[in-house]
Symmetry: C2
Subunit: 726 residues, 2 copies
């Protein structure tokens, strides 16, 4: 799982939002503005139309549908609101239309009459008419399209299958707004379907285990942003997380008691199914398998006593690829698991086998010699071929990480690419179905924008349609070395919502400002379905402040970000390295990889500098209700005095000691920023010596403290340089 | 479930905290202060000793142990902290000592080496030595005592059974503090055991259903405050919440799909068992049974079509007490259930049968005539006798609400008293075992103090020891008409922690100020174990503010309380009455029945007035770091301008419209309070006309708005009257 940084293509940042500023007057009933946003040659049908209401309110949809025609009326709702369900409908529609009612009622406080929508729910007077032609299906390439039409008096939601209906309901909820007269949906017509059929989230429940409710709330969030694959990483060196009745020592010895029972797994799968989400199990093999060997050492390549691994990183243990026992075991085990998981795909991992235990094993070496197998890759392919045979017997298709792609493997397997897009495209060109995860490693502490702009099929990839079709979509991967039930939602969300848009919406939807604007709204509504991504950060801050004022600590957290990539592993030295049982409750664990205030400070700085040097009249931007300078000065002032407020709090909460120098440095840097602005405003300069001194302070502040980076530094650095260039 | 208000005994409010001000100097190593707090004749062994450290820091224990000797050293901990487990230990100790380690590590950020404590965990160098003589047992009258000794270098935790160990670990965590040098436990000796053996929480999962994780987090919270009975109210008119394999239509037709599967129930019971908590199921009968009849109408007294009840209140449907089918059915059903629930007690409800359907049923009437049964009570007793026979056959003891106590019932049943203490004492005197719930109805929106001062055995009850022994303890009841998974924790906690102290600690522990002080700390730590009582209120405020500034709304919520008792049922008129599906997301649903700022304003007012009229020098009190006047003026000023800030927010969030007049009235009343203080300070008077006008405004403001009461009114009223009396 070591991560190779990807090459970004050059991305044109123009897009969606620019067009929204166009305005056509004089059309009375319906103002349709057709906008060809930053059109790309390969994109057809990318008609998106937005009306300009008097209040200049924008749509808060995420993912942006394929086609949106906003109209100018408002469909108000009151306590008489009812929905009806027609056509072929089942549990998918019943559960989700009931959930829709409760969420609508919860947001608005309106007392609706309808209780649980069931087969028997009939309602001729309903203002929301739901019509589904066929029952839903939860499999690759299911029809997920829908059509939504909101007029002043009625709402139609129509789809070929239930899958489309449940997406349409989420879109409808995203359209809810409030004004002086009450709650309303803006009238519109929406025709929607996804760009990619495989829109996944992988959750690693091995490095740290999460109970059923954590998975369920993430499933609800996935539905809210129209994702449709939950990939459960179920076995690892650090834990075997599912009950096996055939080989009970797997979970009994390999899980510390932390695993899903079979009935819990069924519960999860059914919960996901009703929400249009496939569940794909991953049993990583032949490596990443220490936890299997605690109960069944005879599966391993090395005759030793195994215990659940507590450290992170690539481990030596691997299954014995030359023993018949291994394949008999796996045959029986897979036979048991395929009965639980109905999806046609089955993930066998296959990554990061370092081959050390194979090298040490005489039988393995002998077998390789005898069969003319030149390296561990070829041997692993032999292993994979045998596993493929087992899977095929049970009517399952194989999915695996990059490494399973070897010349001898047939191309009916799916390659999940963690290494990079080039590898993926190579595979797609060879005829393999592929999904992209490189660039979507949500555990790397990247900002949203970086993930968002990563496209499985970039415009300039110039793939022919046949090859492009082999790229099924992508998967966000949430590896769990640094997450617990408490903070995992804060890691996955809201960034995954932006990636979900990448998987669903047309490629040309990529305006960063507008993404962040919409994400702020969606983020907030994701709480409604039970996610803890906002509240648990707040809880973390409360706990860290140990009953004292939380504001100074929150101010700090709003401008710092955890260090990126896997550098956290190497920050504490060998003696204090992270173990499975290490606390994940420090400031870094409740900090966010897209610190909002820091981002806005950087943005305000850019806008301020741009305007300062041209007209000195600050423009009002998308972000700043007043002007960027005002925002900047306010925030820097707040940070300037923050250390004074935070220091005594740190004194009474020992867990905060490690951020003492960080807090100091933030206030110092903020002061430099304020001085630079002052000079720019009063048209004065700073002496060269002082500039050098300041830049040195800034440079020194770039050194992470307590695994955190001060993210206002780029802004202050720019301000100082701007003054120095005068 | 209509509630009869109880009579309070006269309570001497002196107590615990007074004694803590004593100080004995000159003892060097150990300062032991023996204090006989407000001694009562019947209390023996109520030795509690508290040292006065230089910093005057107090213990934050809740419940207060039977005996505490605080010493003056500090036992600091660092990353080398380890624990060892000796004697007879099982899952109870392993799970909870592992949880202890993780919570300690989580709070402190310290990286401990130990991972999962198991049979194999040996550690000679451990500084925390845990010694349990016997395995735990989860049944009535289990030995729950423990002894905890913290010295500078070692900590001993010793108990006869594992039960005591897990309580000692909770006590130890409550003792953790932080200073400039790091984290430490104050050295002390604690000898502890509970006052009552039955310390329960009843959760109604029928009016609204909660999934497993909600129950689990409440179980963890129960352990944290040393409660030991989880009473699950599993069937009701509004839902049948457990899977029955024998009579599957019970959950299939009676639950809207919201029920515990049998494997989930087993999961809950095991989770509770490991935490020393008995689980007692309640199947309310013969009334409160509509949901049974949806699938099995033949059980009912009236031949009709039943559907799950959506309204609240007492319903007519009741089981048919004269049909053999009923008893055959219940025999089979109980046989199935007793296999799931290992506790020796089984709750059959028995409350609030209005007898209407019995009156309408010819066979019932005929049977009554033939058997000389004069009323519904006698008939219900016949029914209960038959159920008792079934329970006895399955080795279960019967528990029921007050109504099951009828002359013909034998005294080996347990009476849960919801009607009042007099009834309970009457039963106890007759030799029945009893538990008190009257006064602990946590759904009545009472403040903490009112519940806290309610004692199952008041000092002046003057019971003889034999009778007193029949009073086993009490149960907090959390009825669920107005709670959902989202806000149920905010209703149960933290108030239940104070009641838990009533059940555990000596009777004379009843200082209100100190209870509130400690509750504030315990409240905050209850978050650590997963309770959502703080974070979900904050989430509610965020949602209600609809993305706008949350502070003005929070200011309002901090001074208002939901209207008390069951008046919410009658506030919206028949047409808009509450149904099961009604939204519980309005301001009232995220308001707290012990609004903290309002409470402090009232307290500050009392202190201010007292001092104003005597010396005019404000004393510094337990609550107010500066002085009460300063606190008062600050808070009233904040409220005075709050409406101005809240009004535009209400304008953009229609769900808040209903509190518009409330917000206005709070600012108005705050202004009156400020004026009164101003007059008092400047030694001026207010004209009689103005006083009358103000008192009228205050009086008008007493009318609830949006089911909420302005709780600063008593304070402002006192201020105005004080001025007027000058």
């Amino acid at each position: 799982m070591e991560y190779i940084l990807q090459d970004y293509e050059n991305i044109n940042k123009l897009g969606y939002n620019k067009g929204a500023k166009m305005k056509i007057k004089g059309v009375i009933m319906v103002i349709i503005v057709l906008m060809f946003f930053n059109c790309e040659k390969n994109d057809t049908k990318k008609l998106v139309s937005i009306s300009q209401s008097k209040n200049n309110k924008k749509v808060n949809l995420m993912p942006i549908p394929k086609e949106v025609h906003l109209l100018k009326e408002k469909h108000y709702i009151n306590e008489d609101f009812k929905l009806s369900v027609e056509g072929k409908t089942g549990k998918m529609v019943y559960v989700n239309s009931t959930r829709f009612l409760r969420r609508l009622s919860g947001r608005t406080g309106l007392f609706f009459d309808q209780d649980f929508i069931t087969t028997e729910s009939k309602c001729d007077s309903a203002e929301l008419k739901i019509i589904s032609d066929e029952l839903g299906e939860v499999k690759l390439n299911a029809d997920e399209s829908y059509f939504l039409e909101i007029s002043e008096n009625e709402i139609f939601l129509k789809a070929n299958k239930e899958n489309g209906i449940i997406y349409g309901l989420e879109t409808l909820l995203q359209l809810l707004k409030s004004d002086q007269n009450g709650y309303y949906f803006q009238t519109c017509k929406i025709k929607d379907k996804p760009r990619f059929p495989w829109r996944g989230l992988m959750i690693d429940v091995c490095r740290h285990f999460y109970p059923v409710n954590v998975i369920k709330r993430n499933i609800d969030a996935m539905l809210a942003v129209k994702m449709n694959v939950l990939h459960l990483h179920l076995s690892e060196d650090q834990g075997f997380r599912i009950e096996s009745k055939v080989f009970p020592k797997l979970h009994e010895k390999g899980s510390d008691g932390l695993y899903f029972t079979q009935s819990q797994i069924k519960e999860i799968i059914e919960y996901a199914r009703v929400r249009g989400i496939r569940v794909i199990p991953e049993f990583d093999m032949p490596s990443h398998t220490t936890s299997w060997f605690v109960g069944y050492p005879e599966l391993s390549s090395k005759d030793t006593v195994y215990s659940v691994e507590r450290t992170w990183g690539i481990q030596d243990p691997a299954m014995n690829p030359v023993s018949e026992y291994t394949y008999q075991f796996l045959d029986k085990f897979i036979a048991e698991m395929v009965k639980l998981f109905p999806d046609e795909y089955f993930h066998i991992g296959g990554d990061e086998n370092n081959g050390n235990h194979w090298k040490e094993n005489e039988n393995v070496q002998k077998y390789m010699k005898e069969n003319d197998i030149k390296d561990k890759h070829e041997l692993q392919t032999k292993f994979n071929q045998k596993i493929l045979k087992i899977l095929t017997k049970y009517n399952k298709k194989m999915v695996g990480w990059d490494e399973i792609l070897q010349p001898q493997m047939p191309n009916n397997i799916v390659i999940q690419s963690w290494r990079g897009k080039k590898e993926m495209i190579k595979a797609a060109k060879k005829g393999y179905n592929t999904i992209l995860s490189n660039g979507y490693y949500i555990d790397l502490f990247w900002n949203t924008q970086r993930h968002y702009l990563n496209d499985p099929v970039m415009k300039n990839a110039n793939l022919n349609p046949e090859v492009e079709k082999n790229i099924l979509g992508g998967e966000v991967t949430s590896w769990a070395e640094f997450t617990t039930s408490e903070n995992v939602d804060t890691r996955i969300w809201p960034r995954t919502a932006a990636i979900a848009e990448r998987f669903w919406s047309p490629r040309y939807i990529k305006d960063i400002d507008d993404m962040y604007r919409r994400l702020e709204v969606i983020n907030f509504h994701l709480e409604e379905i039970g996610l803890t991504h906002i509240k648990n950060r707040e809880m973390g801050i409360r706990r860290l402040a140990n009953g004292q004022d939380v504001n100074p600590l929150r101010n700090l957290i709003n401008v710092v970000e955890p260090i990126e990539n896997y550098t956290r592993h190497h920050t504490r030295g060998e003696k204090k390295r992270y173990l499975q049982q290490s606390p994940l409750t420090r400031v870094v664990d409740f900090s966010y990889s897209d610190a909002s205030v820091a981002r806005k400070i950087r943005r305000a700085t850019d806008e301020y500098i741009e305007n300062y040097s041209s007209t000195k009249v600050e423009k009002s931007s998308l972000y700043f209700t007043n002007n960027p300078k005002e925002y900047l000065v306010n925030e820097l002032n707040k940070l300037s005095v923050n250390n004074k407020k935070l220091a005594p709090i740190i004194g009474n909460s020992s867990i905060l000691k490690e951020i003492k120098p960080l807090s100091k440095s933030i206030s110092k840097v903020a002061n430099i920023g304020l001085e630079a602005i002052d000079k720019l405003e009063s048209n004065k300069t700073i002496s060269k010596g002082k500039v050098e001194k300041y830049l040195k302070i800034i440079n020194d502040s770039k050194e992470p403290i307590a695994e955190l980076e001060n993210r206002i530094i780029p802004a202050v650095e720019k301000l100082v340089i701007t003054v120095s260039l005068k």
